[in-house]
């Protein structure tokens, strides 16, 4: 752990097509997950060209089965479910990515500070213990009921409950690194605290943090969908997968496709992210891999 290995394989640095292929074969899950994610990203960016207007409603076409014209059928307002699902990809990816970045960044800062300063540690960790006792979805619901619904609030509300786990992870890494001789040497030679934290401790947290960030991302996407499904998430006028599913609830028995298509896409997205996460965990940290 003295040198930071960000598990990028030698194959990608020393480019030789053969070795790249060998690496890809060994890391099938990362490759498969990444390919799915890139496709979804493409869909999200190209949404205006791939789909029609997700908000346009034609009452004549209410609750139409999937057909040539409406690939995923229509909802109770005659809106094209396919268009709504395609646009929904954007919301899920934005939420997943933003929450992963936000929660990891805040968690990283708190975790490093906690691992380094014992006095701060005692207080912050008690707060984290308390936050971890609150079910994530309820904490998010409480925040959203108290504020006006907007995508930004949803992102913030989902990020907060994700922070404690990141803090714990970073803190445990910092604590184990701190005990190492080279940190002692750095302290003895008069290096400033901030410099020790940034230069010597931070790099060690990178590998486990990347893995953790993928899981945060997957869980954020599921939570956003869950919140929207419950009516406490993304404002209903925005076509997110959770909102589409939420509207499909009433007509589930006669129009199951409204729930089915966004639900399956949601599952595929989360699966892809988890595949990347599991793959990264196995390559970056064999120790955790064995434990899982």
């Amino acid at each position: 752990m003295t040198t930071t290995t960000i598990g990028l394989p030698p194959a990608t640095t020393r480019t030789s097509p053969n070795r790249a292929l060998v690496w890809a074969w060994r890391n099938k899950t990362i490759v498969a997950g990444t390919l799915i994610l890139l496709t979804l990203l493409g869909v999200a960016i190209l949404a205006p060209w791939l789909a029609g207007d997700p908000l346009q409603f034609e009452p004549i076409n209410r609750l139409k089965r999937p057909s040539e014209e409406f690939w995923f059928g229509t909802d109770q307002f005659g809106r094209d479910v396919y268009s709504r699902v395609i646009y929904g990809t954007r919301i899920s990816l934005i939420v997943g990515f933003s929450v992963a970045v936000l929660a990891t960044a805040i968690g990283l800062v708190l975790g490093v500070v906690c691992g380094y300063y014992r006095a701060v540690d005692a207080i912050v960790m008690r707060v984290m213990d308390g936050m971890m006792a609150i079910p994530a979805i309820l904490l998010a619901i409480a925040l959203i009921t108290l504020m006006k619904a907007s995508l930004l609030i949803v992102i913030a509300a989902i990020s907060i409950p994700e922070i404690p786990r990141v803090v714990r992870l970073v803190r445990s890494v910092v604590l184990s690194v701190r005990a190492r001789p080279y940190i002692e040497a750095a302290i003895a030679s008069g290096t400033r605290n901030v410099r020790i934290m940034v230069r010597h401790i931070l790099p060690n947290t990178v590998a486990p943090l990347i893995v953790q960030a993928t899981y945060v991302c997957a869980s954020a996407i599921l939570t956003e969908a869950g919140l929207s499904f419950l009516g406490a998430g993304t404002p209903p006028e925005i076509p997110s997968w959770g909102n589409v599913i939420s509207l499909g609830r009433t007509f589930f028995q006669i129009a199951p496709w409204i729930i089915f298509f966004p639900g399956v896409l949601l599952a595929i997205t989360v699966l892809a992210i988890n595949l990347v996460g599991d793959g990264l965990r196995d390559t970056l940290d064999p120790r955790i891999a064995r434990r899982m």
């Binding site: 008690r126 707060v127 213990d129 308390g130 936050m131 006792a133 609150i134 079910p135 994530a136 979805i137 309820l138 904490l139 619901i141 409480a142 925040l143 959203i144 009921t145 108290l146 504020m147 997957a218 599921l222 969908a225 869950g226 499904f229 419950l230 009516g231 406490a232 599913i245 609830r249 589930f252 028995q253 199951p256 729930i259 089915f260 639900g263 399956v264 949601l266 599952a267 595929i268 989360v270 699966l271 988890n274 595949l275 599991d278 064995r290 434990r291 899982m292």
Partner: protein
Amino acid sequence: MTAYILRRLLATIPVMVVVALFVFLLLHLTPGDPAAIIAGDDASPAEIEGIRRKLGLDRSIGEQFAIYVWNLLHGDLGTSIFSNLPVMTLVRQRLEPSIVLAIATLVVAVAFAIPMGVIAAWKAHSGIDRVVMGFSVLGFAVPVFLIGYLLIYVFAIQLRWLPVQGYRPLAQGLDGTLRSIALPAFALGMAYMALIARITRASMLEVLSEDYIRTARAKGVATQWVLLRHALKNAAVPIVTVIGIGFALLISGVVITETVFNIPGLGRLTVDAILKRDYPIIQGLIILFAGAKVLVNLAVDISYTFFDPRIRQ
């Protein structure tokens, strides 16, 4: 032993204090006037004033928190703004379905996941192992509502084996309750099952490579006996931990599952509270769920002493 339990018990106090403080401060740190937020967009100034007085928001913050904690200690979770009933009363009315659902899910998940994990570890890298691992990856990705609606579609609408939605109280007979809770328990239990199966497999794999397992086999102990008595008991600590951690997952899932299956439990209470912006109910439920989670963790900690006597010291 008693000292260990007592120490664990005391450790739950600061956690609950932080939870109470957090829930309390949430209302006060949110930008804007809490009374106006709770009253909603089209409330008149008089209504806002009424809510302010009812919630005691006109007092100082310290005083408010003291009153809040004092009330909590007396089992008073606050009063619903919309129905004017104590949150505790509302909770009591909705408690049964949620507890039945939680227990049924726990039983279903553990009953399926542990055998799955044990067999996968025993037959590591075989076809069965791959199926179990595949399931555990998939079970984690598929959202509760998708599984829920798929189960309803197949077992209730197509096959007509089980009721589509709703809940039959225990008072009307166990049979009806079990039938109404079967699909929700499986839907909610899927992710939980995936988690427990994965950890059971990993933990068993580790234990099965130990010398004493080889010794047991060498002296001719029957395979199932080795797996259960020698391996599973020693692999239990991580498994029990994950069952405890997973309980949190379960609580969050309860809210969504109850909405999918139209079960009038605490989850429905939460959803109704969201629609009416009835913050005291949500506040009360957070305290309640957090308390439940802390108690489960405590039970998990205590159960360690059974599986691993070294922890008792």
